[in-house]
């Protein structure tokens, strides 16, 4: 009887432990490279790197206007010959973590949005240092090797609300900062 109980307890502990372990299994889907997205969003335009660093005040202003947190003060941006912008941005949602490429015209109109990579996140994964490290690097390809690459997935509909919020934040970034930068 006591052996049975011990075996049961052992099993119980093993099961509990498997839930408690921070298992970093995730999947990622990559679509376009930055270069491909540039060609699609700004065809026949030469793009020049034009990164921007937001000041604390600018970030606060964008946060107030868009009502969305500005996580990264560094804007990974390129400029087209006619004054338009190509921005690579990251959006962190409840279930997902997405790299986006956005084209904004010289007049501030969003010309196109392409998802570059999509990573499914789970629970406290976002808080994990390795997970966060990628937000400071320009190239996420190294990180991607850790993820499982999945070809085709069919599942419940995932809302793109966080991307919409991210675009709203970039719109306000353009109107309060980027539009004031001379070509």
């Amino acid at each position: 009887m006591s052996m049975l109980r011990r075996r049961f307890l052992k099993g119980l502990i093993a099961t509990a432990a498997s839930f408690a372990l921070p298992i970093q299994v995730s999947f990622a889907k990559s679509y376009l490279t930055i270069e491909q997205a540039q060609k699609i969003l700004w065809p026949e335009q030469k793009l020049t790197p034009a990164p921007v660093d937001l000041t604390e005040q600018q970030a606060d202003l964008i946060e107030d206007l868009s009502d969305i947190r500005v996580r990264n003060h560094h804007i990974n941006s390129w400029r087209s010959e006619d004054g338009g912008w190509f921005i690579v941005d990251q959006v962190i949602g409840k279930h997902e973590n997405i790299d986006l490429a956005v084209a904004i015209s010289a007049e501030g109109k969003v010309m196109g949005i392409e998802v570059l990579t999509y990573r499914e996140t789970y629970g406290d994964q976002i808080m994990h240092p390795k997970w966060r490290a990628q937000f400071h690097g320009k190239d996420s390809s190294e990180f991607l090797k850790l993820d499982k690459q999945i070809k085709n997935i069919s599942g419940a509909t995932l809302s793109c609300r966080h991307v919409t919020d991210g675009i709203n934040r970039l719109n306000h970034t353009w109107s309060s900062v980027l539009s004031k930068i001379a070509l």
Partner: protein
């Protein structure tokens, strides 16, 4: 052989288009652009969430003046006619007019400002008379085309692609694969990222439905019992087109197996239900 894989946020979700052919990459990009444009066009007509869509205009008209006859575009007329057909076939269980209830229960945004006390004032799909491109109703109603609009968008986008291109279009669970034979697709059956199960395709269209992404819980509202049905796991339907596949996931979610089977058969469809532990069973 070139391949291109793109993803854009449209129809309130993520639209993936993957194309491959013995064509230069430029040609694949151009074809993907045409397919995305087509989805954008369908979104402009059928999106519930946009106030300026044709569907929202129709909803507003069906609330304020249900009795007057309204003229529909071909897109909206096609999707509503199909919704009506499934409504009849499922004995009223499939009903896209539950949108008013979903809005009052905050599962859908109430951007049409319908009063919260008014659920009894709304009619159902049986109050509708739909003839060709014209519609009128005896009671106020609100439609949410939800999944079938996505399915329709996928079907329309696929139809725009040239014949020598292979690949797939995937819109938040509604998928069409061009060369589907012997291809596998991973089904996501629970929230955790590792909850994926590989299934072999049985038809060109596959729709999956589940509520694991929904923080507020189930959205499968049964109009007869006036209750939300809970689905733990994922329902996947293989059919001839994505619009049918999507509608049939809801039929399976809401109806008894034995009542749902003849409906699947009628459309030449089959289904697989995967529970939250990843065990699948077949319905057909």
């Amino acid at each position: 052989m070139h391949q291109i894989k793109r993803c854009q946020p449209l129809l309130g979700t993520f639209i993936e288009i993957s194309l491959q052919a013995k064509l230069p990459e430029k040609a694949l990009i151009a074809s993907a652009n045409i397919a995305f444009k087509e989805i954008e066009r369908v979104q402009q007509a059928l999106n519930f969430h946009r106030k300026d869509s044709e569907l929202s205009q129709l909803n507003m008209a069906l609330i304020s003046a249900p009795n007057t006859t309204k003229v529909l575009s071909d897109d909206l007329a096609t999707v509503l006619a199909f919704a009506h057909e499934i409504h009849l076939v499922s004995a009223g269980v499939y009903d896209i007019s539950i949108a008013s209830k979903l809005m009052i229960d905050k599962h859908l945004p109430n951007h049409l400002d319908i009063p919260h006390s008014s659920s009894a004032a709304f009619g159902s799909f049986s109050d509708i008379s739909l003839q060709g491109n014209s519609i009128c109703s005896t009671k106020p109603v609100v439609f949410d085309l939800g999944g079938i609009a996505k399915g329709y968008a996928v079907d329309q986008a696929i139809a725009k692609l040239p014949e020598n291109i292979s690949g797939y279009v995937n819109a938040g669970g509604d998928m069409r694969v061009i060369d589907w034979k012997n291809q596998q697709v991973s089904i996501k059956y629970a929230r955790r990222p590792s909850a994926l199960k590989a299934l072999t395709l049985r038809n060109t269209a596959l729709a999956s439905s589940g509520s694991y992404y929904q923080a507020q819980g189930s959205q499968y509202f049964h109009p007869k019992t006036q209750r939300y049905n809970t689905i733990k796991g994922c329902i996947s339907v293989f059919a001839n087109n994505a619009m049918q596949a999507d509608a049939l996931t809801k039929v399976i979610a809401l109806m008894k197996r034995k009542d749902a089977k003849p409906i699947l058969k009628r459309y030449g469809a089959s289904a697989i239900i995967t529970n939250r532990f990843g065990f699948s069973r077949q319905v057909n």
